[in-house]
Subunit: 182 residues, 2 copies
């Protein structure tokens, strides 16, 4: 199959053609990148904000970088603060809390860091985790571990897409993306 | 001087107390982090969009990660697409264009990458570079190099803050931050 092949999907009333990308021999995923797509961010944020409206929450949390516009827009719509877990440590982050995770698109381990200044937004708070795509669940687990260490309580998990055929009944999402097996 | 000392600054009508951080012996800078500060992002984006209104431009460009909410908000206000240069290469980025830069807060060299899919937004286009703080100009130079390689033309440079007493007359900014020398 050609590398240029795409998977067409509808997101919040908008149509997008996601390029397929081989992540392992015979296994391809559809690449969804909201960075730069202001219309999709606005639309998906509105739908997720409405789906989350019945949940009492104090703060939104994501991991950098592709989901940052989404969580920013959801923060503005929902009137909640948000925290971005970083993928690199900088010394101005002080005594950061960290957890390891593994990326499906790079295959490498990476570490998530919670800046010391942001820990006050999570300690004792009700947290909604936000992500663009939840697939292997590795980044999700890393975020959950950081939140537990920071003494927050995850009350909901929201994503634009889940991916693959695991049990995603605990995730609030717009839609599921298939994984493509040759 | 205490590490907890702060520098108080006004941004788009909002007051913020920026923590001071030592980046070299006897040299401290004020740390400005818009990630998570939705009010400052909304306000600064509105001011910069107005300051840029007289400039004919096709696209906004920044580097990840702290400026992403700012460029997203400016994109929505100005009706322009935006591109985020990434600090790590992922294989889905294809034949990316890259340039080296050096961070004042980490002291390390880093590489900026322009995803192959985003090069169409820069080739032959009028580009406004956007950043949160322009200080040593190293990240700025890296962005300019990527834009030249991608055959775009930088028509304006916008930042929330310039920093230090270099000649910043070519930067459209809200304000200058001092560098603190003991």
């Amino acid at each position: 199959m050609s590398e240029r092949e795409t998977y067409t999907v509808e997101v919040a009333g908008l149509t997008r053609h996601l390029p397929l990308f081989e992540v392992a021999p015979g296994v391809r995923i559809a690449i969804f990148n909201m960075l730069g797509d202001t219309h999709v961010v606005k639309g998906a944020a509105a739908v997720l904000a409405e789906k989350l409206a019945h949940i009492e929450a104090d703060v939104l949390v994501t991991a950098e970088a592709k989901s940052i516009p989404l969580i920013y827009e959801m923060s503005a719509l929902m009137g909640l603060p948000y925290v971005v877990l970083r993928k690199g440590y900088k010394s101005y982050m002080g005594e950061a809390i960290s957890a390891e995770t593994e990326s499906i698109t790079t295959g490498h381990k990476q570490t998530l860091y919670l800046d010391e200044k942001d820990q006050q937004y999570i300690r004792g708070k009700r947290v909604v985790i936000v992500d663009d795509v939840i697939s292997t669940g590795s980044t999700l687990l890393g975020m959950e571990n950081v939140i537990v260490t920071a003494e927050g309580k995850t009350v909901a998990i929201a994503a634009v897409f889940t991916e693959g055929d695991a049990d995603w009944s605990n995730i609030i999402a717009l839609r599921n993306l298939p994984v493509f097996l040759d």
